[in-house]
Symmetry: C2
Subunit: 194 residues, 2 copies
């Protein structure tokens, strides 16, 4: 991304949003090695003083920027367990291919290893992203479609983890049929018979 | 880790190993933001010239250091599919709890997003770590214990991914029974009946 000439930033919400957007751009392009208040201010066309007016540290800015980016995936509830899970995982897979999300995830994962406050934030962001999957599983269990002793948290791990792993660790492709294949494999072990 | 007084480094294999060890220490403690030839040389008690004699860039040094660390998990082949997979995943889980491995993984994952050479190296290291799981699955398929149309690569994703995800993304605990639970869930969908 190239820097553009921008109007000077004021004190308000508009300035805050521009800095948050610049923070994500810097993080996606340069990772944590390049993530400083100075580099974010430069990208936003703001002074360091403007950034410090809103955030005391680069870590605090990073947490707010990631909170704005890591929106939970949309709710689905068609009542069809397989279709709902495939829809959620398809949105999940898209976030790994269409957006700066994977680069942000990688940078944040690394930073969280060295900063306990970021680690807690990372855990909380992940928890929010897991909720729609948990709700779909709970609804299916209430309908009697899943075994009574279902370990829903483990099932969510099995459903969600392959997308992180493929993109960030194995560097393997994520074909469009992957969400369906993951759902079918995972459901095979936890559906009630009949 | 504190720096200790060390004998001056020579040119040979001993010096090379000490620098590789120092590179992993720096990476685990400081992540990519602190990973420079200078910081590794300082940690190893070596001159920058000594490091540059073996590696042209910090990236080249990082690749060699990670190659030394990411040893494939041990081979197992008892002929019992569940026991073999649980043994492999237990070793895998241990590498996420006992060693600097998760911090190194996080730093390397971030760096690989910005450096294609590191990305290829990361993919290759991951491929090596997957091989023992693939061999155990192939052997079980040859014994007729798994469905004929098994997608072994996907099954390896489902088996391996939850450990990365729990430790590095969800920041959730990995209890000793996790490998067995993951194996049981994944095998439920791919075992032949009877």
């Amino acid at each position: 991304m190239t820097e553009s000439v921008r109007a000077p930033l004021g004190r308000g919400e508009h300035a805050r949003r521009r800095v948050l957007r610049a923070a994500l751009d810097v993080l996606a392009d340069d990772g944590m090695p390049g993530f400083t208040v100075e580099s974010v201010a430069r990208r936003a066309g703001a002074s360091k003083a403007t950034v410090y007016r809103h955030w005391p540290t680069a870590s605090a800015l990073l947490v707010d920027a990631m909170d704005a980016e890591f929106r939970p995936v949309p709710e689905v509830d068609t009542g069809d367990l397989r279709a709902d899970l495939v829809a959620l995982l398809t949105a999940f897979a898209a976030s790994f291919t269409d957006s700066p999300f994977p680069k942000l995830m990688a940078a944040f994962t690394d930073a969280a290893e060295r900063d306990p406050a970021l680690g807690e934030m990372h855990a909380e962001l992940t928890r929010r992203r897991r909720e729609p999957l948990l709700r779909v599983l709970d609804a299916a269990r209430a309908r009697g479609e899943l075994v009574d002793d279902l370990d829903a948290e483990l099932v969510v791990d099995l459903l969600a983890a392959p997308f992180f792993y493929r993109r960030l660790v194995a560097h393997r492709p994520m074909p469009p049929e992957l969400p369906g294949a993951v759902v079918d494999h995972v459901l095979a072990g936890v559906r009630t018979q009949g």
